[in-house]
Amino acid sequence: MPALAIRLRSVVKRYGEIVAVDGLDLDVPEGTCVGLLGPNGAGKSTTMRMLTAQTIADSGELEVLGFTLPRESKQARALCGVVPQMDNLDTTLTVEQNLRVFAHLYRLGRNERREAIERALQVSNLTERRASKADELSGGMRRRLLIARALVHRPRLLLMDEPTVGLDPQVRQELWALIDQLRSEGTSILMSTHYIEEAQRLADTVTIMAHGSAVATGRPRELVVQHAGRDVLEVYGPPARLAEVEGEAVASGVRTRRTGTSVALLGIEGRDGELPEGVRRSANLEDVFVLLTGEEVA
């Protein structure tokens, strides 16, 4: 049993009548990247905030790097790096100044700071922009700076809340490469995202959240096989035809999901004769996601 960087058990957080997190269990084994996947409003951001004690759980057990939250949260925070969903750089400061401020906030000694800043600049590929003010940077560079800022003290655990939200596909791929590199260097990572491809590419294990609790946990490929089978058939047609296909499939025990323009019949391997015309493809994590979190997003 490997040590756990994060261990949550039966965590509950209410805001008045609304239950944002409802009995969540979550493990992040040390040295792995865990993707927290779920639709908007599933409780991902609340969970991320609880891990730095900026939100206090109503009940349940929370441990980060062996420290019990919220009591020992400060010790845990000293060893964590946080990449927020919303850009909160100091915009009138340069790249280097932004990093230096965080080298102080994370208590690096005088002798360590210079080296730490150089390393963070290098990892995020911002060395040549060190003297640029943060608001002169492109969206992708600002994101890289946010990540660099979270890495300046070499955290053991990196918490990333929707790290690539709102970015171009090219920029997103660039960040994926950076995150993948960190993981390969042994940093534990918890990353919330609602981009399925992101979770599929980066995460060793994925926890799918819906309505505040974990509905499935496992390796992306295993989750796909377990919930959506191996092959999927997408049937296209007018809405009436789709409803008909859906009805027939359900009657014969095949699970389906809507994709908007088609009906996807899941787990159709070994059912060749009885199927309507359609396009065959492999099952993917998106099928699992929609199946488990519901077709309609509240």
Binding site: P84, T92, R100, V101, H104, R107
Partner: protein
């Protein structure tokens, strides 16, 4: 892992407060010119307006020339303005718009340390800019005195209290527009009824009572006594009032911001 082993992680740690200060000082590098300009020009205008305006009508207040009276009084105004407004607006902008506090509190810094660091920094600025009116008044005939060397410390303590008041207001109010209510009902009366431009002794009894609970009045009195001669029996009381104001506001500011930031 590069961390000094004897770093105790408790309450009000120096390294956490220092981190908050470093952030503020670094940011100050990008706007100190405008702040310094305003902090120098404002008291000059007050001195000219009141000095030459009222000065022709009122030549003396008690034993002081009017320019001596106003020149020392405006120190308190400068302290108030250079602490309460940056605290109110700065705090609100940093948590609501820039989300700076989310980032700071994700680091090993607690709300208590954040508030303390922010208030200390504003108090240092108030302790510096609070001296400008004295320097300006010297140009208009105020005689320097040894006691004036204590004015930065008086301004620092008063500035700390008002900075915490401003942080508390920012923590309590939901919208930056509502700051107008506080400015009109608290800050304007505070700076007018403090014995700055006219002595409290001429006011009706009820206003004198209000003036005496006004922390700014205690600041005004201490600064005048520092400049023109101490009054030991009263000055201990004035100092105690300022320190008490600072401590109470400090705790209230921490509580208000904690409610806002930790939920």
């Amino acid at each position: 892992m590069s961390r000094r082993p004897n770093n105790r992680l408790g309450r009000l740690e120096r390294s956490a407060i220092q981190g908050v200060l470093v952030r503020e000082i670094t940011n100050f590098g990008s706007f100190w010119r405008s702040t310094t300009f305003a902090s120098t020009v404002d008291p000059t205008i007050y001195l000219l307006a009141f000095g030459f305006g009222f000065g022709t009508l009122v030549s003396r207040v008690g034993e002081l020339d009017y320019v001596e009276f106003v020149g020392t009084g405006i120190v308190a105004t400068a302290v108030l303005f250079s602490s309460v407004f940056p605290a109110m607006f700065g705090t609100f902008v940093k948590y609501q718009y820039q989300r700076t506090y989310d980032a700071i509190l994700a680091a090993p810094v607690d709300t208590e340390e954040l508030v303390t660091g922010e208030a200390l920094w504003i108090a240092m600025r108030a302790g510096t800019y609070g001296n400008v009116p004295l320097l300006v008044a010297m140009v208009f005939g105020l005689d320097p005195s040894l006691g004036m060397l204590l004015v930065p410390f008086i301004a620092f303590i008063a500035g700390f209290g008002w900075a915490c008041f401003g942080i508390m207001i920012a923590g309590l109010l939901k919208s930056i527009d509502n700051f107008n209510y506080v400015t009109s009902t608290v800050i304007t009366p505070t700076f007018l009824v403090a014995g700055t431009f006219f002595p409290l002794s001429g006011l009706p009894d009820w206003a004198q009572v209000l003036g005496n609970v006004n922390p700014l009045h205690h600041c005004v009195e201490l600064v005048r006594h520092a400049a023109f001669g101490w009054d030991p029996s009263h000055d201990a009381g004035h100092l105690a009032a300022l320190v008490a104001f600072a401590i109470v506001m400090w705790r209230l500011a921490i509580r208000a911001l904690e409610r806002k930031l930790i939920n």
